[in-house]
């Protein structure tokens, strides 16, 4: 079987993906690139001789086994085929032993990048190959199998070489696509933290389904199903995920990613959707660009996603036939870098799906479910190819039944009405107290007798079934009597709060066709004119209490009450509730709350809310009693005292008031012994819940939820005090009684757990509808498609709550926000409430509001009240660690208080826009020529026409680059001054700067104290190109008030700069400064980019003179070979002349001609050749947009200027502690990042900060936190 095979290019530079993995290897952190393992099993038909013969040529000739690497000066690597791999005979073992050994090998690029083990197994042999990830992927293994098993030379890959214009054309196509397709991700778990240990889930699809997928195209089938899954999980119309694109067979690693941008139309069937996917797949491949190019493009933008192409990656591995007698026992996996990596692998039983996910973001159950949902989409898609994909259920009937289920309650329903059950206790325990209110005391007997008397009278006034009776009486014993009387007479009561606004009350009294009003004389003047109803004042009613109730039969469909609710718009609507569902609700609630005749409840809720009525009805139905507050405004002290004195064991209290109660009880240690508190009305944060648990000392806590339309409290969350809930708000819990609670999407399909949808409540426990509003009723109460299937009901209705929620892992529902407040930003659905809740969890934040503002460009802005007025940026940074990128507001504005209009409602229009707030200048006029000139320059550059001479340059919006421009403009006018950016930091107003210029007081310094004081050792930050030190402000913030920080200005920004200075000279100035300030003291250095080389040189110069505790090296690169002395550049024939002509043509045009001439004249001949080569390597044509600072040309000039400074510099090893950090993008670019372990014995491998690039890493919160940790360790150790 052995034959000679010729592999191409035995000595070559690395490809893009090889460079990337090489860079990872160099910094000592392979990250997601793990050794690639293939295990083949040979049965007895392959004797040992035959196996050995097959293996020998592979190990001798295949490039994966012969590859070795060399590094040229400057850090550039090349690949050679000069090595060899020896087959290791391992003796006897099974596949587990072979795998364990294969995993224990640590392939390294210098010594042994590949391992091959041969084992004797039961009845045959095992061959285990373990290769460095730079050398292999699944495609390379396919090639190895071909050579090994068929003696066939594997396909050789040519690197696709695109010319500059084609590359640019493709990139712009991808840019446009990616800009309009949002990155789709599965919803994260609560308190998500990326980058934790991976979790894995497997699912093998049934053989029949696998076959149909294979026939249709495995990749297109899976990509379609995944797009549908992600659409349902995210609500994104245009969504993007990453698709693994590697050659099926290759001689070198080729596995990469392309962003697949799909917009599955949910109204179409699976078959049509699949065709569309197949077209997109073909287009994506036809316009392929290297993964690295696409990632770099994304990461060069501010606020890039840490998974720039997609947070979910799909890899479909090809099926590969094996000759008889051979089995594949292990196959390599792609890099597990994304939040969720989905691998599909065909096998004899069917396609196996492997889901590998970040365990910090997802729970294992979530990942299992996602696979199940994918299978359901595929199954339904292939069996009903024309069914609109939106109608494919993700949940099974059993799952839906379990999630929507109410609290279990098997007790048969008592058919009697609420007041009939209450009346029963007048017979059973007539002398037992029922109602306590102020000085009023009513026993069950007295309560019933008084209500009977009034009921008889009401009947004479025409009250009967469906007749509304208004109760215009303040909360108290009389109101309870009146309500019971209305029901006993067969009527429907309508509570009207005497204290509520007259216009609202008049609307209620006229809207519902009220026939009788029960009230007091003192409220008569609050009745509307022309009211036709009979009015009865309690003072005028003298009939004696009587034991017999009127003989009235209550039909279960008959109205019990009409409750008016204030919608967000329009007039209050009357919600009509029938006796049957009301009584059933009250009965089940009594059992869920574990109420008895011993219950004595203090209901604090107003009678204008239906919850307020539940909380007196239920205790009375159980034969217990209620203590009704005799005024609306009891202090916490009064309430707690009443509870104690009256021996209450239950209380029902609005959440906000309960919080005050708990705070008071905690301060005064005055919590009375209580069994249960129920509360509700608004979102309850964990911290508040903890306070309630701790301070109130009750056994059970119940969070109640429910719109009036679904009768009182249709959902509760009942827990032991002290329970932790992983969520922003306490759960709403589950349904009560004959109800089910659902979370549904816009197509009325149940949402999977964790996915936000609208909360619907169904079952018999819903209201009849809105009085006199059949259309609104039909709009909000919709036919229930689930009841018939789950409970065998017929004609049932669901109420659409308008609230957003999601099913939690335990099946309870969590509140998320309001449907009408939900907003869409770049296609992502955002619930402002979720962001507000995270803001509220920050220390000191008392109120939070998140809004989409601005016209025409919408901006997401957060407003908070509570913390210090300058805390906005810190709050924003806190949000960054807790929320996905698309949910981050652009700014957080701290206000003294929320602006309100005359009605005490929030005045949204009065909320300041963030810039407007920062830019409000004091506007002090300029005096004298200098001030006038400077003010004109600053106003123009910042764009702040109202700026005055005492306004702070940076507070007015002046950014770092604007500062440099301002300096340049001022220097042009006063060429004799040595003004530097340090002056602008020290003297940031027009007046102060003008004084420095006229008095000649400019500092000319290059060191800027970013934080002057603090007890910790000082941190010195060394600059990369064009670094003005403002870049370190966020880092300084993060390091805290105790950490003094000094930043050095980049020497190219220093006006005293000369050409051809050496690194030693540049650093000498910094070193002098450090010695003056810190001789003999502990300190730390931070070097970013080439600043790392400056920091290293400073450490050398200061050896033994300062106590250097830590050097933080941030993305420090070797210079590369571009300008290395002695590196002779290659040119294609004629290329040098062409580049020379290009350079001359460009020099003739550029406005920076003088500067360039100066720079070029400083180059020696070798350096000039290198410069030409450098120009030729640039992807873009030479820029001529200078000389303005921040122009591309100026930046290019500074780069070359620095290259000339650094090219002669040589580093020496030092024994100093080094913590190094690399940006993920720099690794992906294969930049020549320095491995500091080669320069110091006290250096550790680099920490990789993924999802950021060379430029942005310094402002990245995730970097700040890690550096702070290392710094703290260094200072304490």
């Amino acid at each position: 079987m052995s034959k000679d095979v010729l592999f191409p290019a035995s000595d070559r530079p690395l490809t893009a993906v090889e460079k990337r993995i090489f860079a990872h290897d160099q910094v000592g952190e392979l990250g997601p690139y793990q050794p690639q393992i293939l295990i083949l099993g040979f049965d007895a038909t392959w004797d040992e001789e035959r196996v050995l013969q097959a293996v020998a040529p592979v190990l001798a000739q295949h490039p994966a086994f012969t590859a070795r690497f060399s590094v040229l000066p400057g850090g550039v690597a090349r690949r050679h085929a000069t090595g060899q791999t020896i087959l290791a005979r391992q003796g006897k073992g099974d596949v587990d032993a072979a795998m364990e050994r294969a995993q224990s090998h640590q392939p390294d690029l210098t010594e042994s990048p590949a391992f091959a083990d041969l084992w004797q197994s039961e009845g045959g042999h095992l061959l285990a190959l373990s290769l460095h990830p730079l050398l292999a992927d699944d495609g390379v293994m396919a090639g190895i199998e071909a050579l090994l098993l068929q003696g066939r030379e594997p396909a050789s890959l040519d690197e696709i070489l695109l010319d500059r214009s084609e590359r640019a054309r493709r990139l712009s196509t991808w840019q446009a696509l990616m800009d309009s397709y949002g990155i789709a991700r599965l919803p994260h778990r609560f308190d998500a933290m990326a980058g934790q240990a991976r979790i894995q889930s497997h699912l093998t699809l049934p053989a029949d389904l696998s076959t149909r997928m294979a026939e249709t195209g495995l990749e297109a089938s899976l990509a379609t199903a995944l797009s549908l899954l992600l659409r349902r999980y995210t609500g994104l119309d245009n969504l993007r995920f990453a698709l693994g694109t590697g050659a099926a067979e290759a001689d070198r690693r080729s596995l990469g990613l392309l962003p697949l941008c799909l917009a599955p139309d949910p109204g179409r069937g699976f078959a049509q959707t699949l065709q569309a996917t197949a077209r997109k797949l073909a287009e994506a491949r036809a316009h392929a660009l290297p993964t690295e190019v696409l990632e770099q493009d994304r990461l060069s933008r501010a606020g890039a996603d840490r998974h720039p192409l997609g947070a979910v990656a799909l890899h479909v591995q090809a099926e590969r036939a094996l000759p008889s007698g051979v089995a594949r026992l292990a196959r390599p996996l792609p890099p597990m870098a994304e939040e969720l990596v989905l691998i599909a692998r065909p096998g004899p039983q069917g396609v196996t799906l492997i889901a590998d996910a970040d365990g910090g973001l997802f729970l294992p159950a979530q990942i299992d479910r996602a696979l199940t949902h994918l299978q359901r989409l595929l199954r339904a898609g292939f069996e009903q190819p024309a069914l609109p994909t939106a109608a494919i259920p993700l949940l099974s009937q059993d799952e839906l039944a379990a999630l929507s289920a109410p609290y279990p309650d098997e007790t048969p329903v008592d058919p009697r009405a609420t007041h009939e059950i209450i009346a029963e206790h007048a017979g059973l325990t007539p002398d037992k107290l029922a109602v306590i209110c102020g000085t009023d005391r009513l026993t069950h007997g007295a309560l019933d007798a008084r209500a009977n008397a009034l009921a008889h009278h009401l009947i004479t006034l025409g009250v009967g079934a469906e007749v509304p009776v208004a109760i215009l009486i303040e909360r108290g014993a009389d109101a309870v009597v009146a309500i019971l009387a209305a029901m006993k007479a067969g009527g429907a009561y309508i509570p009207v709060e005497p204290d509520h606004p007259t216009s609202r009350n008049h609307h209620i009294l006229t809207d519902a066709g009220v026939r009788v009003v029960l009230t007091r004389q003192r409220y008569l003047d609050r009745l509307p004119q022309g009211l036709t109803a009979a009015v009865l004042c309690l003072e005028d009613f003298h009939d004696a209490p009587r034991p017999d109730a009127p003989s009235v039969t209550i039909h279960p469909d008959q109205l019990a009450y009409v409750m008016y609710t204030s919608g967000s718009t329009g007039k209050p609507k009357g919600v009509a509730v029938e006796h049957g569902p009301l009584s059933h609700h009250n009965q089940t609630t009594a059992r869920v709350y574990e109420m008895s005749s011993e219950s004595r409840e203090l209901p604090f809720l107003p009678f204008s809310s239906d919850g307020g009525h539940e909380r007196w009805m239920v205790p009375l139905m159980m034969g217990g009693s209620v203590v009704i507050p005799d005024g609306p405004l009891w202090t916490p002290e009064q309430t707690l005292t009443a509870m104690r004195e009256q021996g209450c064991n239950n209380a029902s209290i609005p959440t906000t008031y309960l919080q005050q109660l708990a705070e008071w009880a905690e301060e005064t240690d005055s919590a009375p012994p209580m069994r249960l508190y129920s509360f509700g009305g608004e979102g309850l944060a964990q911290s508040t819940f903890d306070l309630l648990s701790r301070a109130l000392k009750a056994k059970i806590l119940i969070n109640g939820y429910g719109p009036t339309e679904t009768i009182m409290t249709p959902m509760v969350w009942k827990v032991q005090a002290g329970t932790r809930f992983d969520g922003v708000y306490a759960p709403l819990g589950r349904a009560v009684g004959d109800r089910r609670a659902y979370v549904l999407d816009e197509e009325l399909m149940p949402c999977p757990q964790g996915v936000v949808g609208e909360i619907y409540l169904g079952g018999t426990g819903v209201a009849r509808g809105y009085v006199g509003k059949p259309d609104t009723t039909a709009d909000r109460f919709v036919p229930d498609p689930f009841g018939p299937v789950l409970d065998g009901t017929s004609g049932a209705r669901l109420y659409r709550t308008g609230d957003l929620g999601r099913w939690r892992e335990d099946g309870t529902i969590e509140f998320v926000g309001r449907v009408d407040l939900q907003i869409k930003v770049n296609g992502y659905r955002i619930e402002p409430g979720e962001i507000e809740a995270v803001l509220l969890a920050e220390p000191g934040v008392g109120e939070a509001l998140v809004l989409l503002r601005g016209d025409p460009e919408k901006r997401l802005i957060g407003y908070v009240v509570g913390p210090a007025l300058d805390a906005g940026p810190a709050l924003l940074a806190a949000l960054e660690t807790k929320l996905p990128k698309h949910m981050l507001p652009e700014a957080v504005v701290v206000l003294d208080k929320m602006p309100t209009n005359p009605n005490a409602k929030l005045d949204r229009a009065a909320l300041p826009m963030p810039n407007a707030q920062q830019r409000k200048g004091a506007g002090v006029a300029a005096k004298g020529e200098a001030e006038t000139r400077i003010l004109t320059i600053w106003r123009d550059l910042i764009g702040a026409p109202d700026m005055g001479v005492t306004d702070d340059f940076f507070a007015m919006g002046g950014k770092s680059l604007v500062a440099l421009k301002a300096l340049a403009a001022m220097r042009r006018h006063w060429p004799q001054t040595a003004l530097t950016i340090a002056d602008l930091f020290d003297a940031p107003t027009v007046r102060e700067i003008a004084r420095r210029i006229t008095a000649g007081g400019q500092t000319g310094r290059s060191a800027i104290a970013l934080r002057a004081t603090g007890t910790k050792p000082r941190l010195y930050c060394f600059p990369g190109l064009l670094v003005s030190t403002r870049e370190y402000l966020r880092l300084t913030d993060c390091l805290g008030a105790d950490q003094p920080v000094t930043g050095f200005l980049c020497h190219s920004l220093n006006e005293e700069k000369r050409l051809n200075v050496s690194v030693e000279e540049v650093v000498a100035g910094y070193a002098d400064h450090i010695l003056r300030e810190n001789a003999g003291q502990p300190c730390a250095f931070l070097g970013w980019s080439w600043g790392g080389l400056l920091a290293w040189e400073a450490a050398r110069q200061l050896q033994g003179k300062v106590d250097l505790r830590l050097m933080g090296m941030v993305d420090v690169c070797d210079l590369g070979s571009d300008f290395t002395p002695g590196a002779v550049p290659d040119f294609a024939p004629g290329e040098r002349d062409r580049l020379f002509a290009e350079l001359q043509g460009w020099l003739a045009k550029t406005k920076m001609r003088a500067q360039w001439d100066r720079l070029i004249s400083a180059m020696d001949a070798e350096c000039f050749e290198q410069f030409l080569r450098f120009i030729g390597n640039e992807a873009e044509p030479l820029p001529h947009d200078g000389p303005e600072i921040s122009s591309r040309e100026h930046t290019f000039w500074v780069l070359i200027d620095n290259a000339l400074v650094f090219r002669q510099h040589r580093m020496t090893p030092l024994s100093v502690p080094v913590a190094s950090f690399s940006a993920g993008d720099s690794l992906s670019r294969g930049l020549n990042l320095l491995d500091w372990r080669k320069w110091s014995d006290k250096a550790s491998a680099a920490e990789v900060v993924v999802g950021t690039n060379h430029l942005h890493i310094i402002g990245e919160t995730r970097f700040h936190e890690r550096f702070k940790l290392r710094l703290d360790q260094a200072f304490s150790g």
Partner: protein
């Protein structure tokens, strides 16, 4: 559900055995216990029609008892 992508398609008026009315997308299967009333139309048109025909919101059983 008002934002349903299937709602470009027409809606229908449904009525149940209790005489309660509601609206539903034509593309969705009619839930058990509900009957289609009249011709499919736009959502708003269906609701406007319900405002005209649903003049007595008492459930049928109660109407019979009270008759």
């Amino acid at each position: 559900m008002t934002n349903s992508t299937l709602t470009h398609a027409p809606w229908v008026i449904l009525r149940n055995h209790e005489g309660r009315y509601s609206v539903f997308p034509l593309a969705h299967a009619v839930p058990a216990g509900w009957q289609v009333q009249g011709e499919p139309a736009g959502r708003e048109a269906c609701l406007a029609r319900i405002a005209e025909i649903w003049t007595d919101m008492r459930p049928s059983a109660l109407q019979e008892v009270m008759a």
